[in-house]
Subunit: 219 residues, 3 copies
Amino acid sequence: MLHELFTPSVQHALDLVGIFVFAISGALLAVRKNFDVFGIAVLAEVTALGGGLFRDLIIGAVPPAAFSDLGYFITPLLAAVLVFFLHPEVERTQNAVNVFDAAGLGLFCVTGTTKAYDYGLGLTSSAALGLATAVGGGVLRDILANEVPSLLRWDRDLYAVPAIVGATIVALCIRFDTLNAATSGTAIITAFLLRLAAMRYHWRAPRAWNRRSATAEEG
Amino acid sequence: MLHELFTPSVQHALDLVGIFVFAISGALLAVRKNFDVFGIAVLAEVTALGGGLFRDLIIGAVPPAAFSDLGYFITPLLAAVLVFFLHPEVERTQNAVNVFDAAGLGLFCVTGTTKAYDYGLGLTSSAALGLATAVGGGVLRDILANEVPSLLRWDRDLYAVPAIVGATIVALCIRFDTLNAATSGTAIITAFLLRLAAMRYHWRAPRAWNRRSATAEEG
Amino acid sequence: MLHELFTPSVQHALDLVGIFVFAISGALLAVRKNFDVFGIAVLAEVTALGGGLFRDLIIGAVPPAAFSDLGYFITPLLAAVLVFFLHPEVERTQNAVNVFDAAGLGLFCVTGTTKAYDYGLGLTSSAALGLATAVGGGVLRDILANEVPSLLRWDRDLYAVPAIVGATIVALCIRFDTLNAATSGTAIITAFLLRLAAMRYHWRAPRAWNRRSATAEEG
C-alpha cells in the first residue's frame, strides 16, 4: 500500500463498521422479502462485501479481501443473526441504521478509490471504482432480491452523488499529492454529511429532460 | 493440486455428471419461461458452470476451468439439446433429475472447497467458496430468468444446508489432515443424502424470529 | 497481441463507435424505466462495457480495458448526456440506433474472439467469449433494469446467432491461419448483415419442440 491513510488497526476497525451496517441493510431487505435464515445471511454477505469484491476482481487483487480476512466474512453473519432475532427492533432504529449506512458509504468510496489507485489504475478509473465499491453491494442486494436497484430509481434520495463527491475529492488529493489522513477524513465526512443532507431534505436527481412520469413503470 | 481426491479420470467423469444435471435444471427452467433454443442453451451453460466460474475468478484460476476444458463447455449444450427435444419426458423424470441434482450439489461443495484450499484460501473461506460453487449456478440461473433465487426463498426445501455440511466436513478433514478419497466420498454422500431427505420430508429453514407471513411478497 | 487486425487507431475508433451505440441502447432503456440521470449513466456504462469486462475477467486481463482506457469510460457518459437531453429525438432515430447496434454486435464478436485467443484460450472457448463480449452488456443491462434479458426471449429477432456466426468465422480463420484484416472485416460485415436481415424479416429462433405458447409467462 502506498497509502496508509490511517493506522492499520483503525482502518480495519472502520472497515468492519462499514461492513456491519451494510450487512444490516441487506439482512433487513431479506426479512422484508420473507427469505429464510439462510437467505438473510446471503443477502447480508452480498450487500456488505459485494462492492469490495467487484473492485478486487477488477484490479486483480485475488483472493479478494472478502475471502482472505476472516473478520470480513464473519461480521455480516453477526449482522444476520442480530436481524434474525431482533428485526422489529432494528427496523425501529432505521434512522440509526441509515446514519451508519451513510458512514459506510463515505468510508468505502474513499478506501475503494485509494486501493484502486494503489493497484495502478488512473485517477478517473480509481474514482469510478471507489464509487462502485461504495454502491456495488447494494446493487447486488437488490438484484438478488429481484428488485430494481434502488441506486437507479429516481424516487430515492441521492445516494451515488455523495460517493462520487467523496471519490473525486480523493482523486484530486492524489493528483495534487495531498492525500493523508486529514484529507481522507475530510472526504469521508463530506460524503457522509452530503448523504445525511440528501436524506434529510429528500434531494433527488433529475430524470431525463422533458420526462413526464406518465409512463412510469417502476417509479 | 495438493488434493487428488480421486484419480483424475474419475474426478473428471464426476464433474461432467454434475455439470450435466445442473444444466438440465437450467434448460428446464428456460423451457418453462418460454425461452427460445438459444436461451435454453445459455441457461444450461450458466447453471452448470456459473458456480465454478465464480470460484475460479475469486481464487485467480484464470482462465476458469469452464473455458479451458472443452468437455465442460460441450456438456451443457448436450443437456440443452436433450431438453429441447424431449422436455415433456425430462419433466416427467423430474424426480430422477432431482436425485442427480442432489448428487451434483454434494460433489461440487466438496470439490469446490478442496480447490479453493489448494489455491491458498483459509478453511472458512474455502468452505464458503465450496458452498458458492455448489449453489452459485442456480442463483445465476434464477437471476437470468428474472425470478427470486430459489436458494433464498423460505418455501423451498433445504438446499444450502446440505452443501454447508458437506463443505464443513471437508474443511474439518483438511484441518485434521485426514482428507482422502474415503473422507471426501463421505462428505459427498452426506450432503447428497441430506438433500434427498430435505426433499423427502420437506425440511425448511426458519424465517426471521416472530415473523408472520402476513407481509409475504414472494412467499 | 498476435492479431493486429487493423491499425491500432482504426481498431480504437471502431471500439469507441461500438461502445457508443451500445451505451445509447442502455441509456434509452433507463429513460423508459424512468431512472434518474445517474441511473441513465450507469446503464449506459454497463451496457457498453459489460461484455468486454466479463471477457477480460475470464482471460485475466486486469485491469480490464474498460478501466485502463479513459476513452472507454468517457464515451458512455457522452451517450448518457445525449439521451438525457434528446431522448425523444434519439428514440425517433431508433432505426439508426439499431443499425449501429448491429455494427457494434458484429465488431465485438470478432474482436472479443480474437482477444480471447490471444490470451491463450482454445478456439471454441474463444468463440464463446467473443459471443459473450458482444451480448454480455445487453444481458447485464436487462438484469439491472429487472427485466428478462431480451437475448433469451423467443419473441425477439435473432441477436445471438449473428454474433455466433461472426465468432465462428473468426475461429475458423484462426484455425486455418487466414485471419487478417480482410477476413476479420468479412466476419464483422457478415454478422452485421445477418443482424440487419433478422430485424428486417423478424427471424426468430424456435422454442422447445412441441412447445405451445399456452404457458407463456414472459412471452
